[in-house]
Structures are given as C-alpha cells and as structure tokens.
C-alpha cells in the first residue's frame, strides 16, 4: 500500500515561542521538510534547530513586487515540495489561515491532488487583541476586515459590533510597500468610516506583543484624528460598538421572550 502524502499547515502564534503549541512542535520535528514564512528571526532559528531540513519562503515573498503574485508563487513552491517529500510542514506566523493566503491556497490544491492535509491552528493577532483589550467577540458580535478590502469595495460596517480592521499600514497597496501618498489614502479611509461613526468615536491602535515579556502597544484616539496617526506594519485598528442593536419587537413577541423576563 502506498502511503498518502501529507501536507500540514501550522500556525506558530504571534508571541515568539510562547504561542507555539506542543501539537505544532511535534509536526515540525517529524516532517521531512519544514517550509516557513515567519516575521521574526528568533522563531526562524528555533525552527532550524527543530528540523534539519528547513526552507525559508521569505526570498519568494520578496521576489515579486505584487503581493498576489508572491503568494501564488509561495503556494506553488509548497506544492512542489509535496512532489518530492512524503511529509511537508509549512509554518506561518499567527494562525495559518487567518489573514494568510498562501497556506490555504496550497492546502486546497493539495486536497484536489489527493494529498492528506491538516491545519494546526495558532494564536492570531485578533486572538491577542481580544485578550489584551478584554473583548468578547461573541458579545455583541464582531466584524474583521482587511483595510484595503473595506476602502476599495462597497462594504458595510455593523456599528453595533466590535470592528477590527487589519493591515492599515498597507492601506491601498497591493505591493510590499505602503502607498506613497498615505495622507490622501487615509483621508479617503476616514471619509468612508465617517459614514458609519461620529468623528469623536474612539479608535484603538493595537499591536500584539511578538516577544514574551513585552507589552502590547495600545493607543486610543478619535476617528477625526486618524490621518495624523502613524501605523506600523503590525498595527490593527479596533472600533468599539457604537451602540446596542435595537431589539426587533415583532420577533421578541413571537418568541414570547417578554414572558420569560425575571
């Protein structure tokens, strides 16, 4: 019997080594080859120590100016390794399918090719944000969206939810470098947000800690000041709910919930 090939996509978490699970370590140690795209050099050293056969995907990441092309190339490279190895592991930082395109692209193609696939979750920047800001995304719900996706497309925001906007530093850019005219793009972004929020609405700039022992970066400002704020590539924006969503009285009556009030 021929054993099916394996492709395992692994999330390393955000905080270097601290977030790496026992499950993730086991797969990293036993893979025939470990491909990785991480944004922190100590984690890279650690991976090289855990497995003698590692390949950094970073050169391919920067080989193409257009990010979409880079991610396609990375997905192709992952698949090409499954052709010559029985058990391929791919490590991406954070959660490997949360705001991380190339791993999932490779997994989906591998499944079509008959390869056994597995995804090992990791702690995402959003998970860190929930913890550091003391937020329950289930109460009253949340929306998570990429900044350029929100700006470029006709998208709505549910202001009764927690709203998280990712990759603000790359707003309007499809390449590896931020837009040159950042203030102009931020003004457009602000204008769109003002369709949903008051100028005084609080916005929190959040940067999860990537090193154990280091505090996260948390700064709150008003939406009207957003164009004056500088963002790092790790910055995520958080908008608290504007108000409680009104109850649909018709549904409330149909469900008989008024009778259950204590």
């Amino acid at each position: 019997m021929i054993e099916r090939k394996k492709l395992v996509l692994i999330g390393s978490g955000i905080k270097t080594l601290s977030h790496l699970t026992e499950e993730a370590k086991t797969y990293i140690q036993h893979a025939d080859v470990v491909l990785y795209l991480v944004n922190e050099p100590i984690l890279e050293q650690y991976l090289q120590k855990q497995n003698a056969n590692t390949i950094s995907l970073e050169p391919y990441y920067f080989q193409y100016q257009n990010r979409s092309n880079a991610y396609n190339k990375i997905a192709q490279l992952i698949l090409s390794q499954t052709a010559v190895n029985q058990f391929v592991a791919v490590v991406l930082y954070g959660h490997p399918t949360v705001f991380a395109m190339p791993g999932l692209m490779a997994i989906k193609q591998a499944e079509q090719d008959g390869i056994e696939t597995l995804i090992i979750p990791g702690i995402s920047a959003e998970d860190c944000l929930f913890a550091d800001l003391g937020i329950d995304p289930g109460n009253p719900g949340h929306l998570s969206i990429e900044a350029t996706e929100f700006l470029l497309k006709k998208r709505n925001i549910d202001v009764n939810s927690h709203v998280i906007i990712w990759q603000i530093a790359m707003l309007g850019s499809l390449t590896h470098t931020p837009c040159k005219d950042v203030s102009k793009i931020l003004a457009l972004f602000q204008e769109k947000l003002l369709n949903f929020y008051e100028p005084e609405h609080n916005v929190t700039l959040y940067e999860a800690s990537i090193y154990p022992g280091m505090m996260p970066k948390i700064t709150t400002f008003s939406l009207k000041d957003i164009a004056t704020i500088s963002f790092s590539r790790l910055t995520t924006l958080y908008f608290p709910p504007k108000s409680n969503a009104p109850i649909d009285q018709e549904i409330y009556q149909i469900l008989g919930l008024q009778e259950n009030r204590i």
Binding site: K15, T16, L17, S18, L37, V38, N39, E40, P41, I42, Q45, Y46, K49, L57, E58, Y61, F62, R67, S68, Y71, L92, F99, A100, M101, P102, E146, T148, E149, L152, K153, W166, Q167, A169, M170, L174, H176, E207, S209, I210, Y211, P212, G213, M214, M215, P216, K217, S232, R233, L234
Partner: protein, 64 residues
C-alpha cells in the same frame, strides 16, 4: 548571549510587571531598554540580519 535561549527562557516563565526585569538579565542594555520600552519593531530589526519582514500575507482580491 544566545538570544534563542533567552527567548525560550522568557517563554517558559510566568512574567509579570514586578518580576519581568529579573528575567531580562543577560540581555545587553540596549535590548533590555527596548524590552522595557516595548519597542518590539526596533528589537526585531536589531536581532535580524535584514530590515524587511513578511508582515502581511493577505491581499485584496481584485479579480476572481
């Protein structure tokens, strides 16, 4: 000092505001200061041999 070992040590201890500095012993003064200031981007640049990092691996789909 071996930074990998130091980060491993930090990740294996319960760190709080009142004991963190003890665990930072062994780092050079500049790194220790960056830790205390929370300047992780500068620390990362100091540790790395390059200045560019794969910080975004998601991009808007313009076409299907």
């Amino acid at each position: 000092m071996n930074l990998l070992k130091k980060i491993e040590q930090l990740s294996q201890n319960c760190l709080f505001l009142d004991n963190r500095d003890v665990f930072l012993e062994g780092l050079n003064e500049e790194m220790k200061t960056l830790f205390i200031q929370g300047d992780q981007l500068k620390l990362r640049e100091m540790i790395a041999t390059h200045q560019f990092f794969a910080d975004s691996i998601e991009v808007v789909k313009i076409h299907d």
